[in-house]
């Protein structure tokens, strides 16, 4: 599976997502973004390396930190974002590599179910956020209070969406889209993304549409 790039506008044809090899496309196929012909595409150079270690969970040894592999993966993907914001692309890629490894290293969750997921979400809402908010207020830590305000709203929305899915089933999401705010994580169900994120107020182009399975 590889990616092909439009030489005019940079559109990426991802064979894996599209399900059709680029070479198998009809000769009159054109770029969906700018209309350039098939011959103006070329394969992406230096195809992205395979995600590190798809061979299953890895055991992390030693008391090297108080955070688990899953949480450390989020530390690293957060630092990757920090590098991106400082226009340090190579450093961002290195942090993403670490984040990918650590995500694969996180042990599988044994008793997963939508019900169990809802339980954990409710636990954050009833205990996690109130405790953290109170501590942050006592310290005058407004940065932490901000992530509590955003995170709690986003988490409430996840709870509501999962509950609604349990009531309505697939009909809830048929013929509509699921969107994620790439800044705060707010999830929105609807044909198009909201003009402004209701939680963090970024514009609609900061939303990403969740693609279905191919």
């Amino acid at each position: 599976m590889s990616k092909w790039i439009c030489g005019i506008c940079g559109y990426v044809y991802d064979e894996e997502k599209e399900g059709v090899p680029f070479r198998a496309l009809p000769e009159d196929w054109v770029c969906p973004l700018c209309g350039a012909g098939k011959r103006l595409f070329s394969p992406q150079e230096g195809q992205q390396p395979a995600p590190p270690s798809a061979s299953g969970p890895i055991s992390l040894q030693g008391e090297w930190t108080e955070l688990s592999a899953g949480a450390l993966s989020a530390v690293c993907s957060n630092l990757a974002r920090g590098c991106e914001k400082q226009y340090q692309e190579q450093e961002a890629a290195l942090f993403r590599e670490l984040a990918g490894f650590l995500a694969a290293a996180a042990p599988p969750v044994p008793d997963g179910s939508v019900d169990r997921l809802l339980e954990l979400i409710r636990q954050d809402l009833s205990q996690g956020y109130p405790a953290l908010t109170a501590a942050a207020q006592a310290e005058g830590d407004r940065g932490t209070q901000r992530i509590c305000v955003w995170g709690e709203k986003v988490t409430r929305m996840l709870e509501a969406l999962l509950e609604r899915y349990r009531r309505e089933g697939e009909a809830f999401l048929r013929d509509t889209n699921v969107w994620v705010c790439s800044v705060c994580g707010f999830v929105y169900v609807g044909d198009s993304a909201p003009q402004l994120c209701p939680v963090c107020k970024v514009p609609d182009w900061k939303f990403e549409r969740v693609e279905g399975r191919r």
């Binding site: 954050d124 953290l132 940065g143 992530i147 996840l158 999401l173 699921v178 705060c184 990403e208």
Partner: protein, 167 residues
């Protein structure tokens, strides 16, 4: 403090004032990205840009704010809960056949990751240049957590990113 000009392509309306005023030609490039090797940080382009597309970013950042231990402990506990939720939602999505629930669970794990990143940013990992980030990378370099851990990535990061705090 040394600064560099950065152009936001989403805002740039190609008025080209930056090309006229730049004393070194750093703003005139084939890919529209300002050439950092030529930029002297004078800021004339940012002042002249009518669409506000150029900002001056510092080369060095001040140390991040110190966090209280009690706040960090609670934030870490919440981060662990988020990590379990993310892993669970990802796992459920992978095995899910119903197209709607697949998309919803995918949205959930991506959302939870974003929330967790934000949480950990406020819990002492705001800057890649921070002492905390360096401590973490160093610990991985000294004691790789597993035999196939990408130690080289940690090593390169330590070499490339200067620490902006004295430990």
């Amino acid at each position: 403090m040394k600064r560099l000009a950065v152009r936001n392509l989403r805002l740039c309306t190609k008025d080209c004032l930056c090309l006229y005023v730049c004393p070194t030609g750093a703003t005139d490039t084939e890919n529209s990205i300002i050439d950092t090797t030529k930029c002297v940080g004078c800021g004339v382009c940012a002042d002249a840009c009518p669409s506000g597309a150029i900002s001056m970013v510092p080369v060095q950042y001040p140390p991040q704010q110190k966090k209280a231990e009690g706040v960090v402990a609670l934030a870490n506990a919440l981060a662990e809960s988020k990590a379990v939720q993310e892993g669970m939602a990802r796992q459920l999505a992978e095995g899910e056949q119903a197209p709607g629930l697949f998309r919803l669970l995918t949205a959930v794990y991506r959302s939870v990751r974003l929330v967790n990143e934000d949480l950990l940013r406020e819990a002492g990992y705001m800057l890649p240049q921070s002492a905390n980030s360096h401590k973490l990378l160093k610990s991985w370099l000294e004691t790789p957590p597993s035999p196939d851990f990408p130690v080289e990535a940690a090593k390169q990061l330590l070499e490339r990113i200067p620490c902006n705090e004295t430990e």
